[in-house]
């Protein structure tokens, strides 16, 4: 596969996932390298969300969800019994497909993740709130009404707030499930810039339906099709010279 210059942070071996009896991921094998951006592409319903939602075990919340296989995070299988899920989720942050701010103030949305874990001084929280909002390109729009209810923001603003919320707790990995689907081109550009910036300190996995975006921001690209990993490689190679016919069809738009 890909030569490992950086070391893999996630090693995924034979991952299959089921909702009830329905298998939606089949024997996925993939290594995610640290401090890189990996794009997940594929048609709707192919299991992209399910894949990223397995990486921080947020899908544990879904009643009849089940996985087989192993996901090593820093060489520890996250589905082992002795894994502290709370700790895992702080290390592997997530931004969801639909914006889901808490029905609280903008400030509280970001401060929440900080408050529940450590005793941090108020000034520190203020500082982190500001820093996170700036990173997510939202600060200028909301700096005067941090007390405002987050639900009164527009969809795009809400999504950037969710990005800020994920950044505030300083995870190692950030899972972005179509973060730009509700955002205008200008904010999208800002987010892409942010991803480029974040790559220095974070590992990023981004699900996207936008081929240009995948090509622009990612180092590696994985193409999923009906629950299988069809192709995985350096983004340039996947886009310029795909090995699989189906990848080519999808990228060039000849495919669903």
């Amino acid at each position: 596969m890909v030569e490992n210059i950086q070391k893999p942070i996630f090693k995924i071996q034979n991952l299959s996932a089921f909702y009830g009896a329905k298998e939606v991921l089949r024997k996925i094998n993939i290594n995610i390298l640290s401090n890189s951006v990996t794009a997940i592409i594929g048609p709707s319903g192919c299991g992209k969300s399910t894949f990223v939602r397995s990486l921080n075990r947020i899908n544990d919340l879904i009643l009849n969800f089940r996985v087989q296989g192993k996901i090593f995070y820093h060489n520890k299988n996250i589905y082992d019994k002795d894994v502290d899920v709370v700790e895992l989720r702080r290390k592997v942050g997530m931004v969801f497909q639909k914006p889901n701010p808490f029905p609280k103030s903008i400030y509280e949305n970001i401060a929440y993740g900080l408050k529940i874990h450590n005793f941090i001084k108020k000034e520190m929280i203020d500082e982190i709130v500001e820093k996170s909002l700036k990173k997510a390109a939202l600060w200028d729009e909301v700096k005067d009404n941090l007390k405002q209810n987050a639900l009164s923001l527009s969809g795009g603003q809400q999504q950037r707030l969710c990005i800020a919320r994920a950044l505030a707790i300083e995870p190692e990995v950030i899972l972005l499930d179509e973060p730009c689907s509700a955002i205008d081109p200008i904010s999208t550009a800002k987010i892409e810039e942010l991803i480029y910036e974040l790559k220095k300190n974070y590992t990023i996995i981004i699900v996207t339906h936008n081929m240009q975006q995948a090509a622009r921001v990612s180092d590696y690209t994985a193409f999923f099709l009906s629950g299988e990993l069809i192709e995985f490689g350096k983004t340039e190679e996947v886009f310029k010279a795909p090995k699989d016919r189906r990848t080519e069809d999808y990228i060039t738009g000849r495919f669903g």
């Binding site: 921080n56 947020i58 919340l61 009643l63 709370v86 700790e87 989720r89 702080r90 942050g93 997530m94 969801f96 639909k98 889901n100 701010p101 808490f102 029905p103 609280k104 929440y112 993740g113 529940i116 874990h117 209810n149 639900l151 969710c162 919320r165 994920a166 505030a168 707790i169």
Partner: protein
Amino acid sequence: MSRKIFSRRLDKIFKILGISFMVFSLLVLLVLLIDVFLDGKSRLTWGFLTSFPSRKPQQAGILSAWVGSVWIMITTAIFALPLGIGAGIYLEEYARKNRLTKFIEINIANLAGVPSIIYGLLGLGLFVRYLNLDRSVLAGGLTLALLVLPIIILSTQQALRAIPFSIREASYAVGATKWQTVRHQLLPAALGNIMTGVILAMSRAIGETAPLITIGALTYIAFLPQSPIIFLKNFPFVRFSLKGMFDPFTVLPIQIFNWVSRPQKGFFTNAAAGIIVLLCLTLIMNISAILLRHHYQGKIRW
């Protein structure tokens, strides 16, 4: 064409029918209210609220009845709120969704529909006799707590269920534990609906007569349960005491019932005045439920 005209006419007929039904039922209610008010208004005085019952209708008041009602409400709330809300949270957020949970939930829903006198019999057997609480405020409050418990559990569950799943995901995704999610996200978001349910349950409890008569609440009481706050001459000047919980009591509906069953005309007037007081209490509780709901709905919309 004619079919269109026909269905439009049907629409109109239905509308008129609906409006007349509504007006009719409102009128009946209004007539009842006015009738009660006219009957009772001559006794609606300060003295009526501050006097004990008496053999002479002119001197009889509802002091022991309304104080008893307040005592019972407080006792009921002390037991029913934490138990009901706690059980609701457990069933909705913690319990595994298996057959047993389902079975328990169905039973709770059924309990909400059990006639209140059955709770009275349970209270008589369990609290009055077995636990030897006698005909005390505590026995009455516990009995009514049992009565409203299913309602509070159900409304807590419904309030939690109304919160989008994505809020839970958001909370867990920043590394919150289950308890932190419940405590900081779900409870605040559900509080408006939970409180509305609680107040409606309590306003049902305040009108209940049968279970309290069953456990043997008295109809003639010329003293009050000991006050929970006692003022002292010396430091620390106040003392709190729950001894009143073990005193006998009566409540508004029982007092009213007692007066209605007497032959003298004066007691009839007293009963009407008592009903007005009870109605006002219920009305106040319902209005605060509506205001609460309004207040929280203004703040939270998904």
